[in-house]
């Protein structure tokens, strides 16, 4: 779920753009450095980005039967690390705005903040944190993907609530409203995304060790 073009007031659009800019710029700087040293990383990154884009445009079966899309940030952050994921997500969001009319150009900053920064960092933090606490990979991956997706949606609701506070309930009231309305599709979706990511992760870990090793190397270089 992204904030559509024109929905945020101009000042908020600019504000979120400024908030996202340092993260994207840092990620771009890391990528630039790695690409200069290892030019072959370029095609690998492009292929990874395309994968994230396709993943985030995939229709998932969810309880409501709506055509809801996963964010893909949980899997992406676990595979590529959060720094790369922020840049890839920024490109993915641009592609989504222009190829799917999902999101927008002036809302790009706000959407990058929720889907490209908050989502991946929450997901990656959970993935690393739960693993170091001794939880199994399946639980860590499920939590990372489901809560990464949920964090994105909570952030989006907050962004909307700050822009449109409730006349009575203020920002908190508005946040509950947006959360409540989007929860109908987003909570089942987050669970589906969590389950799906566990399935994909297990299969990759079992049968695509070579590819995971390549991505781990990439992650190590950029992070």
């Amino acid at each position: 779920m992204h904030i559509m073009e024109g929905y945020l007031p101009a000042s908020h659009a600019v504000g979120w753009g400024l908030a996202s800019a340092p993260f994207v710029a840092y990620g771009a700087y890391r990528i630039k450095r790695v690409v200069r040293e290892h030019p072959q990383v370029k095609l690998l990154l492009a292929a990874s980005g395309a994968y994230v884009f396709i993943l985030s445009a995939l229709k998932l079966p969810s309880v409501t039967g709506s055509c809801s899309h996963p964010t893909g940030t949980g899997l992406a952050a676990s595979l590529f690390g959060p720094t790369v994921t922020t840049v890839l997500s920024a490109i993915v969001l641009l592609f989504q705005a222009l190829l799917l009319a999902h999101g927008g150009l002036t809302t790009l900053g706000a959407n990058i903040f929720s889907m490209g920064i908050v989502g991946p960092f929450v997901a990656y933090g959970l993935y690393r944190g739960l693993q170091s606490m001794g939880f199994g990979t399946a639980i860590a991956i499920f939590a990372a993907a489901a809560l990464g997706d949920l964090a994105t949606y909570v952030m989006t609701s907050l962004q909307l609530a700050i822009a449109f506070p409730d006349p009575v309930g203020g920002v908190a009231g508005a946040a509950s409203k947006f959360l409540g309305i989007f929860a109908i599709t987003q909570i089942p979706l987050a669970i589906s995304e969590g389950l799906l990511t566990v399935i994909v992760w297990n299969l990759l870990a079992k049968y695509s060790k070579g590819e995971l090793a390549i991505l781990a190397k990439l992650k190590g270089r950029v992070a």
Binding site: H2, M4, G49, A50, P61, V87, P167, I199, L203
Partner: protein, 247 residues
């Protein structure tokens, strides 16, 4: 995604320089965001739709289909805004506030107008034209190379995904929630090594064409038209002026 791309590649205004379409579309969006006038929002929406339909010749059904997801979002968000919620008391109180209806409706219309302008850009201009423009405007070569290559990989990956899905459906892989999730999981787990393998093979394929890490090629520039740019500026100015007079 094929729907928007197909229109972008084949519409009547495909050959017009991307910068002209960007100025028009972004100009309209900025105008919409900066204006508190209902008239301006209405004019932007009408202008963008008319230009799309009768200028670029994009079919009405395609325009509506592309707009379906944004429309759903506007509907849900407007609903959330119209309702008031007081969480300061022991029990949350839900009610309708007439003051917020007006404000919410305006935001909805503004968003609609801006989506019209975004759709105008998306449906008339191939994404790669815009990526090249971004590069000329100073986006780093590394990131813009990645984005350009990503565009190519997206279609290859999408083809694989669609055929894989069809083949799983042929074997009844999409009956019920659990089975569907399992099938999509297998498909995605299969897709990642394939797309990474494609990247490695492409690396070898490009090496035989002298690739050493830089994606350099010649772009066929589309000529800029001063007349059209002037017309776009006049259009933007007159909508802004109308809003001023009416407001």
């Amino acid at each position: 995604m094929r729907l928007i791309d197909r229109n972008a590649q084949t519409n009547r205004w495909r050959q017009i320089a991307a910068i002209e379409k960007v100025v028009l579309s972004l100009g309209m969006i900025v105008l919409g965001l900066c204006s508190a006038s209902w008239l301006v929002q209405g004019l932007i929406l009408a202008t963008m739709l008319l230009l799309l339909r009768f200028g670029a010749g994009v079919g009405l059904a395609d325009i509506l289909k592309s707009a379906s997801v944004p429309l759903l979002f506007i509907l849900a968000s407007t609903l959330a805004q119209i309702v008031t919620l007081d969480v300061n008391h022991m029990m949350p109180v839900i009610g309708l506030s007439p003051a917020s209806i007006n404000a919410a409706a305006f935001v909805g219309l503004r968003s609609l107008a801006c989506i019209g302008a975004l759709l105008f850009l998306a449906l008339t201009t191939p994404l790669t034209d815009l990526l090249r423009l971004l590069r000329r405007l100073g986006l780093g070569a590394e990131v813009s190379d990645v984005a350009l290559m990503m565009f190519r990989f997206v279609w290859l990956t999408l083809d694989c995904l669609e055929r894989g899905r069809q083949s799983q459906a042929n074997r009844l892989g999409y009956g019920g929630y659990r089975r569907s999730l399992q099938s999509i999981g297998m498909l995605l787990a299969n897709l990642l090594p394939r797309v990474l393998g494609r990247a490695q093979r492409l690396e070898a394929g490009l090496a035989s064409r002298g690739y050493h890490g830089e994606l350099r090629f010649i772009v066929r520039e589309r000529p800029l038209s001063a007349g059209r740019l002037l017309a776009v500026s006049l259009l933007l100015l007159s909508i802004a002026a109308l809003g001023r007079i009416a407001g």
